[in-house]
């Protein structure tokens, strides 16, 4: 083992090219879309100094992927990182950038800035909708494995024509025409949708359907206590996924097939 091999692994992919703004440095690190993380080097002619910038898309990329930087703790996480790495955010230019330094200090700064950008991309892992999407997918997979062979399963459909505005996440119909309308409790909105559907079913005297709201965890952060109380006080079946998969399967089966 020698340090040259490690050095080679780190440096083989590094490349510097000229662009109208200055230079672009390709780092050996990759984003989750497979492209290398790139650092742009802008020259300040009067100061004869340089600063490092992202491509001007990092913030937009995070927000488009569901990270809500305006509203919650992820913004705090970003500002903590910026403080730690002495990086600034130019709101008008939508740019993350360092201060200006002399050319001799650029390589060391580039290593630090690469680490910063990598950690910023890790904020994606905190994107709530990514977690929600996984939970919803897990729930669908569980329902399909439980009832796929014996029942008809539809996703994102209304129960019937007279309730066409009430779209249900997972609709399971048994051969005996009993129906389970399952909502993935990923948000306040979903819990309210389940409540509205339940009330409309009661209003229209629909007898053969049970509504069910499945939560990811017993104390959901995104659903207000009052809404959850209303669900508990209704006839909606309430279930929580955290470690209770077998019990949920049993509950679904009991209410669908009995």
């Amino acid at each position: 083992m020698n340090d040259r091999q490690f050095c080679k692994a780190f440096c083989d992919e590094v490349a510097l090219r000229e662009v109208p703004l200055g230079y672009v440095l390709k780092t050996p690190f990759r984003r989750d879309d497979g492209d290398a993380i790139a650092i742009y080097i802008r020259r300040h002619h009067e100061l004869d100094a340089f600063r490092l910038e992202d491509d001007g898309q990092t913030i937009g990329y995070l927000e488009a992927a569901g990270v809500d930087l305006d509203a919650d703790s992820r913004f705090e996480a970003l500002t903590d990182l910026m403080r730690e790495y002495a990086v600034h955010y130019d709101e008008r230019g939508v740019l993350l950038h360092t201060g200006y330094v002399h050319e001799a200090n650029l390589p060391a700064l580039a290593v630090k800035f690469s680490a910063f950008l990598l950690r910023v991309y890790d904020l994606l892992l905190l994107a709530r909708n990514r977690v929600r999407s996984t939970f919803r997918d897990d729930l669908i997979a569980m329902v399909e494995s439980q009832f796929g062979a014996s029942c008809r399963i539809d996703l994102n459909v209304p129960l019937q024509e007279s309730m066409k505005d009430y779209v249900i996440d997972i609709l399971v119909r048994s051969p005996g025409n009993r129906v389970l309308a399952i909502y993935a409790g990923t948000s306040e909105m979903k819990a309210l949708e389940a409540l509205l559907f339940w009330r409309e079913s009661r209003e229209q005297k629909v007898q053969h359907v049970r509504s069910m709201l499945v939560l990811e965890e017993a104390k959901p952060r995104d659903i207000k206590d009052r809404t959850l109380s209303r669900v508990m006080n209704s006839d909606i079946l309430l279930a929580s996924m955290d470690g209770e998969e077998i019990a949920i399967r049993r509950k679904m089966e009991f209410n669908l097939l009995n």
Binding site: A15, R17, V19, P20, L21, V24, L25, K26, D33, G34, D35, A36, A38, Y40, D55, G56, Q57, I59, G60, E63, A64, A65, G66, D68, D70, A71, D90, R92, G93, V94, L95, N129
Partner: protein, 105 residues
């Protein structure tokens, strides 16, 4: 449906939007998972949206250009129930060796 069929199909009702600068309004390219009203881009970025119909679907292409950094990207998306689903991105940027495509499988 194969991507090559979309590329080869005859397009109708083609609307080519004007080049704009900076933030992209979400109504121009609505992706439900994005929370904000705009997709944030600085004044270095220019963009335009092209709409068309083919193969029984509505499609949009977002063109994004950042000349100072030599970044160009086109994003093809199909409308599904008021939302857009990204199909692929064809792009060039100086940090990669050449033109390449990202596919959403």
């Amino acid at each position: 449906m194969k991507l090559v069929e979309v590329i080869r199909a005859t397009k109708v009702d083609v609307e080519i939007g004007k080049w704009e600068t900076g933030h992209i309004t979400r109504s121009q390219f609505p992706l439900s998972q994005a929370k904000n009203k705009n997709y944030k881009f600085g004044p270095d970025y220019r963009w335009r949206v092209v709409r068309f119909r083919c193969l029984g679907h509505e499609w949009r292409v977002l063109l994004l250009l950042c000349a100072p950094r030599e970044i160009f990207r086109t994003t093809l998306a199909v409308e599904v129930g008021g939302d857009l689903r990204v199909v692929c991105q064809h792009e060039y940027h100086a940090s990669e060796p050449g033109w390449h495509c990202h596919l959403s499988l």
